[in-house]
């Protein structure tokens, strides 16, 4: 059954058994020609939540960067290092992909 996690959560589509989560059902973020290429700087190093807050107004979307850049970021926090080049999804893409 679906969980009570919000649509902003990476676990929104993951099933739940009792108090336990099932295997993670990923929520992919599609590529878009308008996605901006961004070199992570010292301000946002290890802070995807801060970047999500600044870009989309909600730190709960911290996980969208790893879903959009799976070849660059494996660990959503500690791979978010200064100097790495990632693509930043637009808020329109998130609206469409996540239904928010």
């Amino acid at each position: 059954m679906a969980t009570e996690y919000s649509k902003l959560s990476p676990y929104y589509t993951t099933n739940k058994f009792g108090q336990f989560l099932d295997v993670l059902n990923q929520r992919p973020i599609p590529k878009n020609a308008n996605d901006v290429k961004f070199t992570i700087n010292a301000i946002y190093q290890f802070r995807p939540d801060l970047l999500a807050n600044d870009l989309y107004g909600d730190p709960a979307l911290w996980w969208v960067f790893v879903m959009r850049n799976p070849n660059v970021i494996r660990d959503p926090i500690f791979d978010f290092k200064s100097g790495k080049i990632i693509f930043v999804p637009t808020s329109e893409t998130l609206t469409t992909a996540l239904g928010i």
């Binding site: 308008n34 901006v36 946002y44 637009t90």
Partner: protein, 283 residues
């Protein structure tokens, strides 16, 4: 005493107000401050203006009232009645370039190498300190053109496909059945960069290489286009079968400048040096 900039009370007040305003703005909106210093905009929006759907303009400059067209173009004679001049859907994009222009127009500035050679035979005299040279002949060697092609939509994919077929065909002789059987591959004409660089140079296509890269997306031509005016003119064109074309690819073409005996007999070096023979295709 030093003459300080904030000596008059009104100036000091306004400057302080401005400084305070900037500081307050930065303090009041740290999000915007962080994004600005990172080169980002709220919502992940691009700083670049939106690009139109068709960003590559194949249409000849002359169509927009400019009498000089700088683009590099390879075409067949309009009166030849071959290839795109013989009709057909596949090569139709090459005829719809606007203002009567036809042929392959390179959408991006290609790299062109031209080599002009004078051949001399070495005369090695016995017991001589220096070599003497006897003139043999001069030649214009292969013209090598390396060009990038992109296809961002169906129309551009059809154009790239037409270019590929044009150069494929230009390396083959008329054989088997049909018109002109027994004739060698046709002459093509090279134009580009204005009046005095390449103007109607008669050439043979000796080599054509199209590289299909493995690391780019491919776009489908997917059927006959129809319904709305296309980027090349008002006529619609298309092919009925689906084909996939790389969004970015590179073509390499080798051309051999060639002249008839009749043309060569009219050569005059002084006229050539003054650019008077460019109308006859001499380079």
């Amino acid at each position: 005493m030093f003459d300080l900039p904030f000596t008059s009370a009104p100036n000091f007040g306004s400057t302080l107000k401005n400084l305070a305003g900037t500081a307050v703005t930065a303090l009041a909106n740290p999000v915007l401050s962080r994004l600005t210093s990172s080169g980002l905009l709220p919502g992940g929006m691009s700083r670049m203006p939106n690009m139109p759907g068709t960003s590559v303009r194949f249409i000849n400059n002359a169509e927009s009232g400019n009498s000089i067209d700088w683009k590099v173009r390879i075409s067949v004679s309009p009166s030849s009645g071959i290839f795109y001049m013989a009709g057909g859907e596949l090569l139709k994009p090459l005829t719809a370039l606007g203002n009567g222009f036809h042929g392959v127009i390179f959408p991006y500035t290609p790299q062109i190498s031209t080599s002009y050679v004078a051949n001399y035979q070495q005369m090695r005299y016995t017991h001589s300190n220096y070599t003497h040279y006897a003139y043999e002949n001069s030649e214009v060697q292969n013209l090598t053109i390396t060009a990038d092609f992109t296809a961002q939509n169906k129309q551009e994919a059809l154009y790239v496909l037409a270019c590929i077929y044009f150069f494929r065909a230009a390396t083959k002789m008329f054989f088997g059945s049909g018109d002109h059987v027994g004739n060698p591959p046709p002459l093509v004409f090279l134009d580009g960069y204005g009046e005095h660089y390449f103007k109607n140079i008669p050439c043979l296509v000796s080599n054509f290489t199209h590289t299909m890269p493995p690391d780019v997306d491919y776009i489908e031509t997917s059927g006959t286009e129809g319904g709305s005016p296309n980027v090349y003119g008002n006529e619609e064109y298309g092919v009925s079968s689906n084909t996939r074309i790389p969004t970015v690819s590179q073509m390499q073409i080798q051309l051999l400048p060639t002249y008839s005996k009749e043309n060569i007999a009219q050569f005059n070096l002084n006229d050539f040096s003054q650019g008077k023979l460019i109308d006859r295709g001499f380079i």
